[in-house]
Amino acid sequence: MTLFLSVSNQMDLINEGTILIGMDYLFFAKYAPLYYEGALLALNIAAISVILSIMVGLCCACIHYYKVPLLKPSVSIYIELSRNTPLLVQLFFLYFGLPKMGIRFESESCAIIALTFLGGSYMSEAFRSGLESIGKLQLESGLSIGLNKIQLMRYVVLPQAFAIALPAIGANIIFLIKETSMLSVVALEDPMFVAKDLIGMNSDTKEALLLLVVTYIVMILPLSLILTFIEKKVRHAGYGH
């Protein structure tokens, strides 16, 4: 941090002559790498959480689908709890509340646990809507041509359910990446943290915020475009049958 400050003091001296149209262009060159690293960290944590929450979601959806006794009510409670509380509060509870009771997490595992806790229930809802959209006719036809339960799941239910759930899964992925913007509260240096730091240290608020916006556009826009494309493809496939 002290290194940081000394760099910014030097920057202020250099800045005098380089301000054009109210923007300080040296700032971008100097601090863009910090945002890049922040974005990588956020994407990394988002990727791990997405994979874990897909697994959690799939398990919960299957438990719900097969109406497993005992597990089904607990899954319902989990889903309601995680869908009806904000991620920020979950993070605060995990990071500041639980250590007081002797359960301590690293910042990163805390972030991953919170994002998975939140994402798992959203993914579960996505898979559930996919599974429930498979009509009785499909299941009965499958059984009548002699498929067993596993084959029925593997060849009839899952492919259709997955295609239907795909847009929702994609939306959840984007949602989780956006939610990583709160990770700065558990002391992780994501783009938000970098921006807050720079706003606090310098007077280059405009530049810091512009870089922040650009970072998030670069992180999310390509994914959003790919998902719109996939959604169109899947909907097209849906018309076929």
């Binding site: 309601e80 869908r83 509380t85 509870f93 500041f96 913007s181 938000m192 608020t205 915020l209």
Partner: protein, 226 residues
């Protein structure tokens, strides 16, 4: 250890302070929801019309609001506006503006979806019966659209309420901030487990607010689906 920590909730007026904090969050959410339903409906109706220029504009607006995390928008309006346009908003005003902008975008998409998903024959049957276009809107299209819209709008309300927890990060004294203040006081009095209990209560308070609303949305959706 357990019983000493939980006492923090009943000391002084801590419970009422927390509830006051909750009111600050829900107040921001309520004002934003009302404003976004109003503006969102206008933009949504415009979007379902045939004017291309509105389509392009609305789509662009929606995409920007969908891509930007709300925290970034809060920072832009709270720190950015002051620097760039020299408009000094207080934190609560800035958050109301941000949540209204975001809610309006989501609401306009819902309204457009509800209006365009109505089958064309509804309007044409109305015309065939000799109804005027106002009557078609008032008696045929709007009631059906509201049935499709209301559950989703209620759902949006819970999303906005949950997101208002973020305003603590731009310095609004709301539920989480009050919680932090209580914990700080408690730790001066050597109450070590206060943080656990206070954050658990905040967690539950959000759940108590959001759960009935999301259940209402779920039941309305089920009831009107058939």
């Amino acid at each position: 250890m357990l019983d000493t920590g939980i006492k923090v909730l009943f000391e002084g007026n801590n419970i009422t302070r927390l509830l006051d904090g909750l009111w600050v969050t829900t107040r921001i959410a309520l004002i934003s929801v009302i404003l976004s339903v109003f503006f969102g409906t206008i933009i949504g109706i415009g979007w379902s019309s045939r004017f291309r220029i509105i389509h392009v504009f609305a789509r662009f607006y929606l995409e920007i609001m969908r891509i930007m995390p709300i925290l970034v928008l809060l920072f832009l309006f709270y720190f950015g506006l002051t620097r760039i346009a020299h408009i000094n908003l207080n934190a609560e005003m800035a958050s109301i503006i941000v949540f209204t902008l975001w809610g309006t975008a989501e609401m306009s998409d819902l309204v457009r979806g509800a209006l365009t998903s109505l089958p064309k024959h509804q309007k044409e049957s109305g015309l065939a019966l000799g109804l005027k276009s106002f009557d078609i809107y008032f008696y045929i299209l709007v009631p059906q659209a509201i049935r499709r819209l209301l559950p989703a709008t209620i759902n949006l309300t819970t999303r906005i309420i949950k997101s208002t927890s973020l305003v603590v990060l731009i310095g609004v004294v709301e539920l989480l901030k009050v919680g932090q203040q209580i914990i700080e006081t408690a730790s001066l009095l050597r109450n070590q487990t206060a943080a656990f209990w206070v954050y658990a209560v905040i967690f539950l308070l959000y759940f108590i607010i959001c759960y009935p609303i999301s259940q209402l949305s779920f039941h309305l959706e089920k009831k009107w689906q058939s």
